[in-house]
Symmetry: C2
Subunit: 364 residues, 2 copies
């Protein structure tokens, strides 16, 4: 076997373990819910559907952080940690889609949309949209509780006061703070200093995405395996720029990506009013007239296809897309250089390199 096939085999076995653990966990929860009422089955059903897909980026970062710190392949604790991270991500997505008014997720209806469709299909009374949002708020809360329940099942390695528990707590608090900064920038951005918009956007992606998607999961895996503080710090010097590049790639795809590949309508980030690094560059590099136009139409839920096309052109012509791509490249370079400096065995080293490559150069 080549080194690369070793990585692939080990990774596939871990992913299978996480999928199996998620199934087992949710099946137990389905039994608990069934004792309450058959009516509550759609809550677990929505969570099940959501955790079936996805790139499992966070679980994988956690796994290789564990392996890099000497944790053994096949240890049930790291599978449980992966399961907890996937449940946390599902909870975040459910609430995120309400906040962003996104009706689609991975090519299918988002959870709040599913519930409003259930309402309509049954001819129930009152407002189907409000019912959908309310049911999805509760489903997200349930999933957030499940994530923690699953994390606690790790046992002694995640006990009160442990390094792993501290990382799990900070991860949750920081991502919620980062999401708040994100929605705050949508509404407060237009009246704040335009020159600082790229800095604000970078701070937002650091908290809502980079720390949450790559830095904390990698550190969590390391901490569960008992990694020393220097290794955890080394992990951060790799995972933080990687996570920023990952989110900026996502933001570029949100405007320039192919809906058939991303599973989300093109331009939805603009309709939601997301003030990304890409938008920040455009506001500063475009002509005053174009910047004022952008400021005015961002967040218009009815933004037409031709406006989306105009914004795309404007972002290319003023150099905002290039500036963003350069920054992604620089951050990726920083990340890969930091990775080379990490004292890792060749299998986790190759695996993290592949994950990083996929994260920053993906098309979906």
């Amino acid at each position: 076997m080549t080194l690369s096939s070793d990585v692939a085999a080990e990774q596939a076995s871990f992913i299978d373990g996480v999928a199996g653990s998620l199934n087992g966990f949710l099946s137990e929860q389905r039994d608990v819910m069934a004792t309450v009422s058959p009516d509550v089955a759609p809550l677990i059903g929505s969570i099940s559907t959501l955790v079936t897909g996805g790139k499992r980026l966070r679980a994988l970062m956690c796994y290789w952080g564990w392996r890099g710190a000497g944790g053994l392949a096949g240890d049930p604790d790291i599978v449980t940690a992966g399961c907890a991270l996937e449940l946390f991500q599902a909870a975040a997505l459910i609430h995120d889609d309400i906040i962003d008014r996104s009706d689609t997720r991975r090519g299918g209806p988002s959870v709040h949309k599913r519930f409003s469709q259930l309402h309509e299909a049954n001819g129930w009374a009152l407002d189907s949209e409000h019912f959908g949002d309310a049911a999805a708020i509760l489903t997200g809360d349930l999933c957030l509780s499940f994530s923690e329940e699953s994390f606690t099942e790790i046992g002694p390695r995640a006990r009160s006061g442990s390094a792993a528990r501290r990382i799990f707590n900070v991860m949750r608090a920081e991502v919620m703070a980062g999401q708040y900064l994100d929605i705050l920038e949508e509404v407060a951005g237009p009246v704040r200093d335009r020159a600082a918009s790229v800095d604000r956007a970078r701070s937002i992606i650091r908290y809502k995405s980079a720390k949450y998607s790559t830095e904390h999961p990698l550190a969590l895996g390391g901490a569960l395996a008992g990694a020393p503080a220097e290794l955890i710090a080394g992990y951060s010097s790799f995972s933080l720029p990687l996570g920023e590049a990952f989110q900026m790639r996502d933001d570029v795809l949100g405007v320039f990506g192919d809906p058939a590949t991303t599973g989300k309508p093109a331009g939805d980030d603009l309709r939601e009013g997301k003030r990304t690094v890409l938008v920040g560059f455009a506001l500063n590099l475009a002509s005053e007239a174009d910047a004022a136009y952008l400021d005015r139409v961002l967040g218009d839920p009815d933004l037409a296809e031709e406006d989306v096309a105009r914004i795309r052109r404007l972002m290319v012509e003023c150099g905002a897309l290039d500036a963003t791509e350069s920054l992604i490249e620089q951050l990726s370079k920083d990340a890969f250089e930091a990775l080379e400096r990490l004292p890792l065995d060749e299998v986790p080293l190759l695996a993290l390199g592949q994950l990083a490559e996929a994260a920053v150069s993906r098309a979906a």
Copy 2:
């Protein structure tokens, strides 16, 4: 000192401990948030405001469950458990108020309303109402995480696999399921069997309220003190009927209560379309014309004051209010009889009796 002043002194000391512990916990979290950005301060601020008030019913049930099972007064673990329950309740209220579109909470603005007022006061862009809801979803998520973080700080008594941890997990899952049944009944009730509406309403209050507000907190306190299974079962025979009576008292106050005392506009439960036991009795005891009228106007957010008055009259005249009061009386009687059978020392016995009395005969 009389027995009653012993109870009052011990209870006051516990409540002080919980308030101090909440302050300390939230002050640490405020420091974590400050490292992210000064902009996120309102999230912690909203949670602080919310946990300052309230009846502390759940924390007190937990405390006396602990003391009844031989736990020592002044033990920091039971204070931490009380703190975790209060944070959970705050999280539930924040999301509940979005779901129920309630703009007031304890006489002040609810959290989503606070954030939409912040939006308006600052002249920010886009939709203030959507911003308020989105910010409150995130604040509730943060508070839910805090609740669990606090619960885990209990340490060994709440470790993975412990009886206390199992109760905490089931409590969270059941209350979310119960809240879903509640919003489902609002929309599906009108097309479901009217004759079963009281049964459905009783099942809803069992899960969304009775188990959560009284049964699980009491059992949790007992479990933390190492109570045997028979005592936990005995606790339930007291706390479950008590919790049902407590919620039915709340439902009666929601229609017949004095807004100056309850802190909520009269008739809001009707505008939200809550299908309570009281409503269930009315649908079955009123004339067909009155029942059809009630079915039609329930959930109308613009329900006029004269409609609320007409519904009140109708509920009195058809006997629905009497039927509800009788049921509250019966359940209270069951609860007090079960309490008398519990093998408790006189201090916890008196304290639980007083708590129960306050829960079912209150005016707010």
